[in-house]
């Protein structure tokens, strides 16, 4: 009975969530605008950052693929070095209340204190609308937006889908390549890849 109910719930939820259009934003198209509140209560809109390169990084601190990059400081190091070059790096959490990765702002600030983050802000997309607008599938899932608001990268952080931190060193960093290219005003060599990670907990 329980199994039937949980399958029925999943199917119903699936039908409901599928009904809200899940986007698939391709590089070359206009990045969807949004306004979200961060963990410190400040509001940010994508339009605030016009003229800057923006990174959107979907996050769930309990996901082993996110831990792979945060554990050894890989994500924080990317956030810091590109932040120093003027990139606006925003982490976004679309976990719905009750599901993994959802925290109150107070809990978030404790987590960020403990784990470290050099993102400009962690945005709380509690109703999942921004995630759905971008088609964010996994944590991590990365998007790079050029200064003119065009999406130039959509996909994985690197080319080694695994949960092992040891795999970072030999991997091809798609995010670094995309950022280096857009900062130099050049076309991004690989604009779209398949992201890997845990599912976003809408």
């Amino acid at each position: 009975m329980k199994k039937t109910m949980s399958i029925l719930t999943a199917v119903l939820l699936f039908a409901l969530l599928s009904a809200c259009a899940v986007a698939d934003v391709n590089p070359g198209s206009s990045a969807p605008g949004f306004t979200l509140t961060d963990t410190r209560g400040a509001t940010h809109s994508l339009s605030d950052f016009a003229g800057h390169v923006v990174v959107l990084e979907w996050i769930n601190t309990d996901c082993p693929f996110v831990k792979k990059h945060y554990g050894p400081g890989n994500m924080q190091s990317l956030q810091e070095s590109y932040g120093a070059k003027g990139v606006v790096w925003l982490s976004i959490c679309s976990s719905t209340p009750g599901k993994q990765g959802h925290f109150t702002p107070e809990e978030w600030n404790q987590i960020l204190e403990a784990n470290g983050s050099n993102a400009k802000a962690v945005l709380l997309d509690t109703d999942g609308q921004v995630g759905l607008a971008y088609g964010a599938k996994t944590t991590p899932h990365l998007f790079v937006i050029a200064p003119d608001g065009t999406l130039v990268y959509n996909g994985a952080i690197d080319d080694k889908p695994s949960t092992r931190s040891e795999d970072i060193e030999g991997a091809r960093s798609y995010i670094s390549e995309a950022l280096d290219a857009v900062l130099a005003g050049e076309p991004v060599p690989v604009a779209r890849t398949t992201p890997y990670g845990c599912s976003v907990k809408y």
Partner: protein
């Protein structure tokens, strides 16, 4: 010297006899649990004959309600992987994945397995394999999920005696035979075609003419992660003994040259899995496509 040797040598002989007896039983090493998964290597035979292929399997028993992933996990997740340590000259074929289940993660879709999952592999021992035993070891990595995901790891091992005579079936021969019967089949007598139609890919399937069982529903699982929208409904239109399955392609995707994956059809309460690897006819455009011809 002789006195010291007396007691010791008996103990040593007893130890050796027990050890040889254990090897003689030829069982796999103990199953390994990591979280909700128990992993082990099993074989369909009790002993190995040099030059004689046999079947093994990675068996992963996944506690309910958890799941592991198919070779194409879908929109998220990660398929299990094996890293072998093998004796010189012995080859093991690729992992054969059972047909998957569609496991929704709303609004997205994944493909995976639940319960007792058996990945078959063929082993080809060299003709000059020397005994007394042969040991296959592997490191298995997987992702097991339900609401949240846990990476899993196990070191699994299989040791079998080497014998000149053909091996007797092991206690696992039946489960391996059952897995073999559930594998996707080539469907040589089936007519399978793929055709672009506006923004859809139409997979048409017709069973052999002497097969009157109608197809109630069907689902296509692609090997590639980038061809179709995994979460889009796949509408089955029955007709002419078989039918057509509508697949929604990913936005702005160029049609692939080939459509590869597994088509699972439901007929009268039983499911049949067919291996699909067919050329795709037509091109995507806003106008109705003209078939290029297969």
């Amino acid at each position: 010297m002789a006195q010291r040797c007396g007691v010791r040598s008996v103990r040593m002989k007893l130890f050796t006899v027990i050890l040889v007896a254990m090897i003689g039983i030829g069982a796999s090493a103990a199953p390994v649990r990591d979280g909700p998964v128990v992993a082990e290597l099993i074989a369909d035979t009790l002993t190995v004959t040099p030059g004689q292929p046999f079947t093994i399997a990675l068996r992963m028993q996944v506690d309910s309600p958890w799941h592991i992933y198919w070779i194409n996990p879908g929109d998220s997740g990660l398929a299990p992987s094996l890293d072998w340590t093998l004796p010189e000259g012995l080859a093991v074929g690729d992992m054969q994945h059972p047909p998957p289940l569609a496991i929704p993660t709303p609004p997205f879709m994944t493909y995976g397995h639940t319960g007792d999952v058996v990945f078959l592999m063929e082993v080809r021992p060299p003709a000059d394999l020397s005994g007394p035993t042969v040991t296959l070891s592997a490191e298995v990595d997987w992702l097991v999920c339900h609401e949240l995901c846990i990476p899993g790891f196990a070191e699994v091992e299989l040791s079998l005696p080497v014998r000149a005579e053909p091996g007797e079936p092991s206690e696992h021969a039946e489960i391996i035979a059952a897995a073999r019967s559930q594998r996707p089949i080539e469907g040589v007598d089936w007519a399978l075609t793929a055709q672009v139609q506006a923004d859809r890919l139409i997979l048409a399937a017709s069973p052999p003419t002497d097969d009157a069982l109608p197809i109630d529903s069907a689902q296509f699982f692609p090997y590639s992660r980038t061809v179709i929208r995994h979460a889009a409904p796949q509408t089955w239109h029955a007709g002419g003994g078989g039918g057509r399955l509508e697949l929604v392609v990913r936005d702005a995707a160029e049609p692939p040259e080939y459509l590869s994956g597994v088509l699972v059809v439901q007929r009268g309460g039983t499911s049949l899995a067919l291996r699909v690897n067919i050329p795709v006819a037509g091109t995507f455009s806003s106008r109705p496509a003209n078939p290029k011809g297969t």
